[in-house]
Structures are given as C-alpha cells and as structure tokens.
C-alpha cells in the first residue's frame, strides 16, 4: 500500500465537512471501499471523485444509502445505454451512407 495512493478518512471528512460515520455507513452498504492500516482508515485516491459524488448524494440531496445504490446502478445503466446508442448510430450510418 503506497501512502500517496490513499487519503486518511478523517482528513477527507474534515475537508468535506462531513462526519466519519457517513463514510462508515456508505462502506457498510458496499458503496465505498475503505482500507485499514495501523488503526487508521483510508480511502483510495483513485476513488476520490466517486467518494465525493456519494457524499454529495448522501449529504446534500439526503438520499439514503439504498437510494444511492439504486441511483449509481441506474447511472451506470444510462452510461451503458448511451454507449450502445452510439454504437447503433455508427452502424446505422453505415447503411444510410450506402442508401
């Protein structure tokens, strides 16, 4: 575990003005990954943007963890569908240009 790849959770919470318990709750619902080393809990830096998004959904929009889970799942589905639409548009253009 490289120190520069993780951020201590208490520091992260202080920066965002949220209680550490918020992270614990999100972690308990499997929405956030938490690493423990020598009694200190960390968040991976690579997942910082995702963690910030979850905090906003939880803290600002007051969406509960179950709701966040649904929202994240649906956002993922939307992204996949947008990708498929793009693929279909590409495929369609093949025929349109030939017509």
């Amino acid at each position: 575990m490289e120190a520069n790849e993780y951020i201590p959770i208490d520091f992260f919470c202080k920066q965002h003005g949220v209680e550490v318990s918020v992270i614990s709750t999100l972690h308990a619902y499997g929405l956030i990954e938490v690493y423990r080393m020598e009694e200190i809990e960390y968040l991976p830096l690579a997942e910082l943007a995702d963690a910030e998004k979850l905090i906003r959904l939880y803290d600002e929009l007051e969406i509960n963890p179950e709701g966040i889970d649904v929202v994240i799942h649906l956002l993922k589905r939307i992204k996949e569908m947008q990708f498929h639409i793009q693929l279909l548009e590409n495929r369609l253009s093949l025929y349109e240009e030939n017509a």
């Binding site: 910030e52 929009l61 990708f83 030939n98």
Partner: protein
C-alpha cells in the same frame, strides 16, 4: 442583464416560508443535480439557476434586499452601503449545493446585486473538484488507423495527447486534471475528449471490421485471376476464383481495423465484388458473346 424572478425559478410565491423554499429547492435539486445528470448541459444550467435562487432566498438578508429592490437591482450597491452602516453582519441559515460546477457561474444579475457567491455559508469552505470540461475532436478514419500524437489547445495551454490506434467514433477519453479549477483549493476536474471519426469514401468501418466494395472486370470474374486493392494498411493482392458471382463477399482475416489498445490485433476486412459489365463492345466482341450465349444453351 435582466431581472431574474427567483420566486418563479423555484416555483413558489413571495410569501413562501423558509421551509417552503427549502422544499422547493430540494425538489428541483433532486431532479437537476449535476451528479444525477452527467453531461447534461441543460440540466446543469437549470441547476445553477435554482442554486442561485436558493442562495438569495434562503439567506434572510439577501432575500430582504432582493424583495425590497427586486427589479430595481441597480440600486443594490447604495442599499448595501446603507445596510453596512446600520447593521451588524447577519448569519445565514440556508444551504446550497455543490457538485461539479463552478460557483462563479452566478448570473450577472446576481453578481451585480450581491457581488458574487457568499463565503462562509454552509459547505462553501469545503474543497470540491473542478468542473469536467468536454471537447470534441474530429479525426479521419486513416488517422484513427494508427497511433499518433496530436497537440490540442485547451484554455491557452498546449496539450500533447497520444491517440491510440482503433479509437471508435463517439469514444471518450479522459485527461485527468485538465478540466476546471477546483473550488476552495480542490483538485482540478478532467478533460473529456469525444472522438468523431469521419468515414472514408471507399471503406466503411463497423467496430473493428472494415467493409469495402471492389470493382472487378467481367473477364477476371469469369476466368479467375488477381486483383490488387488499396487498404488502410497498404496494398493487398486478392486471388479471384473463376466464376465469381456479382456481390460475392470475401473475408480477409486480420486485415481490418486495429483493436483499441491491443497492439498487433486487427479486425477483419470484408470485400464485396462489384462485377463491371463491359461497355462499347466491338462487333467482334458482340459476336464472341453471341457464340458464348449459343454454347451455353
């Protein structure tokens, strides 16, 4: 710069209580928050409007000033000076949302009346990641065929990027840290570049496969032979079987488009033969064809 009716923006009347404002704001925020509407500029613009409306109406001092001057906002500065002289600083009880947008995006109306976003309210001191920028880059099919470097000018900065071979039309790549500046010292956002890969005239692409139509003279189609074709990867010699029919499709394995980020791996090339009928036949040629016709009966 025109007057903005913040009550109308939030869909409430002028007598709305703090609770009504909060409820109205929450309702819109849940619909329009940037985290729930990624890449939706329309939703983002609306969200900024309701954020601005909430910024004013949830703060008793700002709301009072807004209600008092409203459409005559040009006099806001005079009011401000008078207020400062007569009152102590007012604590606010509102809450405003953050997200992947820049707080400096308040309207000119707001800036003129209140001088920009307030400080020290709610989560304003929190660090937030900057806005993600989006850009579109058009490249030709030939360019997408090979890995190549390209220099882009983003916000007066030259950024050199390497475009891997096989990039797909509509595909987006992310350049970390090249987006908007973070809020309150937060990290920079990302730059998302979406590729528009234009089609070539003689070849179509579908995923990693290429489709091409090749003209073939009647004699080679009937008797067989060789045909040299030009592809994105260079010239290829095709062996044409005797009695090849018009519209025959052949598959050339591994002669298609490079697979994205899989060096040495290629899709297939599908070639459709378009057999050309001879024109302007001489009398002799016509005779020979008649002979052929009779022998086939």
């Amino acid at each position: 710069m025109s007057f903005i009716d913040y009550y109308e923006v939030l869909g409430i009347n002028k007598n709305a209580s703090e609770d009504d404002i909060k409820k109205a704001y929450r309702k819109f925020a849940r619909q329009l928050h940037p985290d729930l509407n990624p890449n939706d500029k329309d939703a983002q613009a609306k969200f900024q409007k309701i954020n601005e409306a909430n910024e004013v109406l949830s703060d008793p001092a700002k709301r009072k000033k807004y209600d008092q001057y409203g459409e005559h906002w040009e006099h806001g500065e005079e009011y401000e000076q008078a207020r400062k002289a007569n009152s102590r600083p007012n604590a606010s009880g509102g809450q405003n949302f953050s997200g992947d947008f820049d707080e400096s995006n308040f309207s000119d109306f707001f800036s003129s009346m209140f001088g920009g976003a307030s400080e020290g309210r709610g989560r304003a001191q929190s660090k937030f990641r900057g806005q993600d920028f989006q850009s579109e880059l058009t490249i030709t099919l030939e360019e997408a065929y090979t890995t190549h470097a390209r220099t882009l000018k983003i916000n007066d900065k030259n950024i050199r990027i390497t475009i891997p071979a096989g990039v797909e039309n509509g595909q987006t790549i992310k350049l970390k840290g090249y987006g908007g500046k973070g809020v309150n010292g937060g990290p920079e956002g990302d730059l998302l570049i979406q590729f528009v890969v234009s089609n070539a005239a003689n070849v179509k692409r579908l995923g990693n496969d290429l489709y091409s139509t090749v003209d073939l003279d009647l004699y080679t189609a009937m008797l067989g032979g060789e045909k040299i074709i030009e592809t994105l990867g260079g010239k290829i010699k095709l062996i044409v079987k005797p009695e090849t029919q018009n519209g025959t499709k052949i598959r050339l394995k591994g002669k298609g488009f490079p697979v994205y980020k899989k060096e040495g791996s290629f899709g297939d090339l599908f070639v459709t033969y378009n057999i050309l009928m001879p024109t302007n036949l001489t009398d002799k040629q016509k005779e020979l064809f008649k002979e052929l016709q009779n022998s086939a009966l």
